[in-house]
């Protein structure tokens, strides 16, 4: 019973604070970046205890990429470990929307339990999302987000950009480089991954690093050509940041061919591809890669889909990105070991 106005006010204030705390707790619970790998795995494991079999379909937009093949490998490996899951893969390549739509349509007809898709074009995939969900097929997105999806298998491009950008800034400071100049590669056709270079730009601006060249490159050949050309214009270039490891591997090749001392340059990539990690391990100009824990990412494709189907655990989560460099040889070895066939 509440009698005095003071008591009422105090109770109201307490209620407000409690409501605010509950809201914050709920927000934290729904924040994919707060979800741990252990929570994700526990839910996936529970799903198989029921004895039910599941079919999960996974469509990546560039299935030809080496790193995507590895993600698929780890998804298959996780499915085999659990024993109750079959993973279906499509053959979408080069961000071909039509190929992806055809695959998704086929999976809806097949009646799979969940579809995990890298949305090449959200608006084009929206009708298929509705169709799938109407048939009780869970719809999860990988990398990109779509409104109303049942789950999200992500890794944070902003975190990736920040990790590699910070590593470059630290290297510049440690080596007391005066007037540092950088080349940053981008992929302007894919704005969803822009934080991979915009975060780098922000950090460089704060640190007084001049970006003298910004060009699209996501493969070795163009990474080599662009770096080779920029080095002609700026022989005192001190940093190259690749949008991914492939572009950075190309840059590393350009530096090797030009005979530039590895001590004078910081090359950094993103993703943690085997080629990138191998170059980092050589301890030359390729100093670091913002590496996604590729084994966890592959396993998350399966576990997050299972969690969406069974509601046993979180279905929205990020896979952490870490700095792979010679400074942490144990972690670098572990990341490289991820690629050994097992």
């Amino acid at each position: 019973m509440i009698s005095s106005p003071y008591t009422k006010t105090a109770v109201a204030a307490l209620a407000y604070v409690a409501a605010l705390w509950l809201n914050q707790a709920a927000a934290a619970e729904n924040d994919p970046s707060k979800v741990t790998i252990e929570e994700v795995r526990a839910g996936g494991k529970k799903a198989c205890e029921s004895g039910k079999k599941f079919k999960i379909a996974f469509s990546h937009s560039v299935s030809e990429a080496a790193i995507v093949k590895q993600v698929r490998h780890f998804a298959d490996k996780r499915a085999a470990e659990l024993g109750c899951v079959t993973v279906l893969h499509d053959n979408t390549q080069g961000n071909n929307l039509e190929q992806q739509i055809n695959a998704v349509q086929g999976w809806i007809t097949l009646g799979v339990d969940a579809i995990v898709v890298t949305p090449i074009d959200e608006s084009a995939l929206k009708p298929f999302q509705k169709q799938a969900q109407a048939q009780h097929i869970k719809w999860l997105t990988y990398l990109g987000k779509m409104e109303g999806s049942d789950g999200f298998v992500g890794f944070d491009h902003a975190q990736s950009g920040q990790i590699i950008g910070k590593a470059a800034v630290d290297w510049v400071k440690a080596h007391k480089i005066e007037h540092p100049k950088a080349l940053v590669t981008t992929l302007t056709g894919l704005p969803s991954i822009a934080p991979r270079w915009t975060e780098v730009e922000k950090l460089f601006a704060q640190a007084g690093i001049e970006i003298v060249a910004k060009q699209d490159s996501a493969d070795q050949a163009s990474g080599l050509t662009i770096t080779e050309t920029v080095l002609k214009q700026h022989p005192d270039l001190s940093i190259v940041i690749g949008l991914n490891d492939d572009a950075a591997v190309g840059a590393n090749r350009a530096v090797t061919i030009a005979g530039i001392s590895p001590d004078k340059l910081f090359i950094g990539g993103q993703d943690g591809s085997i080629e990138g990690l191998t170059a980092v391990n050589q301890g030359k100009a390729y100093k670091a890669s913002a590496a996604i824990l590729i084994n966890d990412l592959g396993a998350n494709v399966v576990d997050l889909a299972l969690n969406a189907i069974t509601r046993n655990g979180p279905s929205f989560a990020y896979t952490p990105t870490v700095l792979a460099s010679k400074a942490d040889q144990a972690l670098l070895d572990k990341l490289i070991a991820n690629y050994s066939k097992n």
Binding site: E64, A66, D219, E228, T229, K232, Q233, D246, R253, E275
Partner: protein, 320 residues
């Protein structure tokens, strides 16, 4: 009357000279513009760089041009480059360098001859056949290489950056291919037969030209040159990514060849002009990067150049 005729002949000659000189003039104009914007552009060092960067493109574009002069096309060259890289990457540890190079060139030749057989002997559509091959060969490359292939023998990758007689080895290979192409077109019956087939395939057959064999040989040469370009590329980047190696290269080759004035219908063309077309593309790419022009603008400028070149070609044909 005669004066009028003289005037018209003069104006035709001037017009023809203008359109024939359009490509060298465009190259000269662009070179001066890039030099003004980025003085390093006109240094010998940078031009040697450009020559290395266009080496693979030129190596394919020369035989491709000869094929197009015969009125045929091969759209599978990009995937052929990818497959060659993968075959080489897989073969190095087991076969060594020389045997690998021979194997890759043989594979390229065999695939080219097969394309030629389907087009020349079975009279299938060159576009359909080679588009099919484009997909098939890319799939094959990816199937053969589930894991990345990289770090090739140093003695092989030396081709990608080493020099001979002061020139990059890749540049020398490119110039050799150009020289062979020029010799074939100027000094051998194959060159004359190629143009005759392009002008009128039926008429060429009726005058005794072995059309089917010629077409097969031309496709074989394109396949082999694509395999050679594949080897050149992986020597340069020291990696053979099955998913991206050579992707879209067929469009770059077509662009260069059309820039060089070889019409899609065949029947005429000049390899030197094609070489200039390839050089123009390489120069454009190099100059735009030196100026740090954003990619979107670079794409538009390159597209615009192609459209202008096509317009000049129409002019040249009409005056022809």
């Amino acid at each position: 009357m005669s004066q009028a005729n003289d005037k018209s002949v003069d104006s035709t000659n001037i017009g023809a000279s203008f359109t024939a000189a359009a490509l060298p003039a465009a190259i000269a104009f662009l070179a001066l513009y890039f030099f003004y914007k980025a003085p390093v552009f006109l240094t010998l060092n940078n031009w040697i760089s450009i020559s290395v960067q266009i080496a693979s493109l030129m190596t394919i574009s020369i035989p491709f041009s000869i094929l197009l002069m015969a009125g045929k096309v091969d759209l599978s060259v990009g995937s052929m480059v990818g497959l060659s890289g993968v075959v080489a990457g897989l073969s190095f540890p087991n076969l060594g360098i020389i045997a690998t190079v021979v194997l890759v060139l043989a594979v390229g030749l065999a695939i080219g001859l097969l394309n030629g057989f389907l087009v020349g002997v079975l009279s299938m559509s060159p576009i359909i056949v080679t588009l099919g091959a484009l997909t098939l060969l890319r799939g094959l490359a990816q199937w053969l290489s589930p894991s990345p292939l990289f770090d090739f023998p140093e003695a092989f990758t030396f081709i990608g950056y080493g020099r001979l007689l002061g020139l990059p080895i890749l540049t020398l290979i490119m110039l050799s291919v150009l020289a062979v192409g020029l010799f074939v077109m100027a000094r051998t019956p194959l060159g004359r037969h190629t143009v005759a087939i392009g002008v009128n395939e039926r008429a060429a057959y009726l005058v005794g030209i072995r059309v089917k064999l010629t077409v097969m040989l031309l496709y074989g040469a394109v396949g082999m040159s694509a395999a050679l370009a594949g080897l050149m590329t992986i020597a340069r980047i020291n990696s053979a990514p099955s998913g991206t190696l050579g992707v879209g290269l067929e469009l770059s080759v077509l662009t260069a060849v059309l820039l060089g004035g070889v019409p899609f219908t065949g029947g005429r063309g000049s390899l030197l002009r094609v070489a200039l077309g390839v050089w123009l593309l390489g120069m454009l790419s190099n100059g735009l990067i030196l100026m740090n022009v954003p990619t979107v603008a670079s794409l538009m400028i390159t597209g615009l150049v192609l459209v202008l070149a096509a317009g000049l070609d129409v002019l040249r044909t009409r005056r022809g």
